[in-house]
Symmetry: D3
Subunit: 155 residues, 6 copies
């Protein structure tokens, strides 16, 4: 059985994140969406609401679960007995950042492998950071988050 | 009549910004330099002083005006009845960020088009961020801001 | 009256090129699509067929014309009395190449300005080079070229 | 059973390619290393010798095989009944090229997914292109190709 | 005699920084590792401890010294009578940032030259920022800092 | 005594190359400008004329000489007893290419160090490739090559 964690802050979870998880289910039997808590940076949504939003999106998918963690990602992997980290790639600057993180993780735990899927073309500009900007001004983000998700329920 | 807004934080307005506006006047009949207010991030110059500095630079150009706004850039465009956003491009990493913003704006308001001009070669390294660093240590920024602008008047 | 040339090799003209031209018509009163001939590099389509394809695409747009040229782009601009060069931007590596060309053009003819529009999000991966690869293996490119264009007519 | 193709020109196959295949065997039950033939570009090694070299490297791995193909990569995938394309990522410029190819493949065959692994840190600068340069001057490439491979046997 | 300053925040000093200094000693007779103080940003290690760590690393190298400064880097250079700034380069996004800083420094003090060495391949993903993340969760950074350095002594 | 080679194809030598050499003379006592011959690629200028042009530029600088070589750059370094390779950096895509070459050289000859200087801001868009394009159409390149150099003498 192949299991992966999909770590991130998901503040909020976007349509791009959803697409990566759904496509990765062809590759993995189980995916844990893992919200890294950052004690220093206050989020936009609370971690609880981010978890709830994601759980609602995948309520019909038994192979997808959501957890939060407050440690190094590789420590969380070891605790869960998981060797694969799943990440989506959008842009070249994303790539350089992701490469550094993934290679450092490998230096620390040699058996952990990071697997990358591309975001879909149409999702390339969609990022949590831009969605937070739009939400700050009460803009409409419904096109950029998973279908049938009412963001107001989680703010 | 073709009108454009040139949005930014302009903290401070640089010689590179000035050059983009002047060259864009060949393309647009009217340009509104629009200072996006960010209630969370305290600026280096006050928004009022940034506006004043820019007004002084363009005091002889009737086709250039300065406004501040506290909403999404596309909402400001709609309020002003303007369909063009003007942006300067300096570097490849600038580009990826600008592309995401522009494509998201387009997703939200299909008729809004972002038009890019390059900074001049000699202005490529000049950014507001580096100027703020220099100003923090009382360094001389006169070469990097519009001619005859005494930055001390606006600090 | 504002006129621009849109230079390129257009081998072949893609749906991304078409979108740039159509959107640029909001900015310019007239656009000349200018096919740079390269005596050294044999194209995939002949220059004549590339012209014909583009003419067919814009046969209802009087403000768009097609020409070929065999000189520096800035010399062609001067011959036509045109000061604007229009270019589409897709990726960060595109950008660095385009910046070098545009800045060199400016060094040689100060009054010539290059204006950039982004390709639409969904057209980002579409390039003439990839289309040529697909065509070489008789693949179907109809999704990636202007609507109602039968590429076989121009091969 | 999860199967993937690992397409490339492998001219020659490097230690970086080998590492990607070995690590991907944790993810896939079977991997076909697929050498795309390019009738126009004469290779450095013949396709036959490239195949032989790779077969020798993986002679003890039943789950790895080598094939050549002379069609679009997605056509080869369909012929083999395979939905995963495996690719290694080294640099940011690699990434932009790979993204375009992968997104175009997806436009053409929606069910085909490209999965990316990073090269190992120490293999980042190793590319077939640089190895060809070294071989042209009879330099020593043994550090950069799979262990116990005598490149002279395949030249 | 050729002298250089190696400016940075070194929070903490990494194995990559150490390698740049050691290799640069082939080029320069004296290197001052210069810790720029940033009154606004509280560091992870105190400036005093960062200095102590670096001094301990180079305690046997008379040609390497450590200083702190609270001014523009070029002002510090002038105070020390030094014309060379040494910097390590890791990634393409590093490069664009470094280029802007170096070119601005040159605009302000024409005689100051920035000299770049690459980090070693194996150090490419190692950055102070990632080390701080690891340290925050009590992870083991010993592989990423100079040999025989016990980071706990400096926290 | 510190000696460096400055390898390249210099087809033709640009004002940017000249600036890198002149500034590097502050760092090195002797610089050999080394033209790598490429038997497969016919140049624009002959190697002899490229050498002549460069010799004419530096005829008053005893510390600068010009040589051609037809081997790996590191083999040429060893033959000359030189441990430093000098390179200029212009853009982020330049950087990734240069990094791969420099790191591979280091893998092959550990004692060889590549030292990078930036091109001056105003020279950033100037490349031999663009100059060849201009020359092909009899354009004027005098602004982009060393002063008082009549390119026609070397074509």
């Amino acid at each position: 059985m192949k299991r992966a964690i999909f770590p991130g802050s998901f503040d909020p979870f976007t349509i791009g994140h959803e697409s990566v998880v759904l496509r990765a289910l062809e590759l993995f039997d189980e995916i844990i969406i893992a919200i890294g808590m950052n004690s220093e940076k206050k989020g936009f949504l609370t971690v609880e609401n981010r978890m709830k939003l994601i759980e609602d999106v995948f309520k019909d998918k038994d192979s997808v679960s959501v957890k939060q963690y407050n440690k190094l990602t590789i420590s969380f992997c070891k605790d869960e007995g998981i060797n694969f980290i799943l990440r989506g790639l959008r842009t070249a600057s994303d790539f350089e950042y992701e490469r550094a993180i993934a290679q450092m993780n490998r230096f620390m735990e040699n058996e952990i492998e990071t697997v990358f899927l591309l975001t879909e073309t149409k999702h390339t500009p969609v990022s949590s950071g831009i969605l937070r900007e739009i939400l700050k001004y009460n803009g409409d983000v419904s096109k950029f988050i998973p279908k049938n998700t009412d963001i107001k329920k989680y703010l």
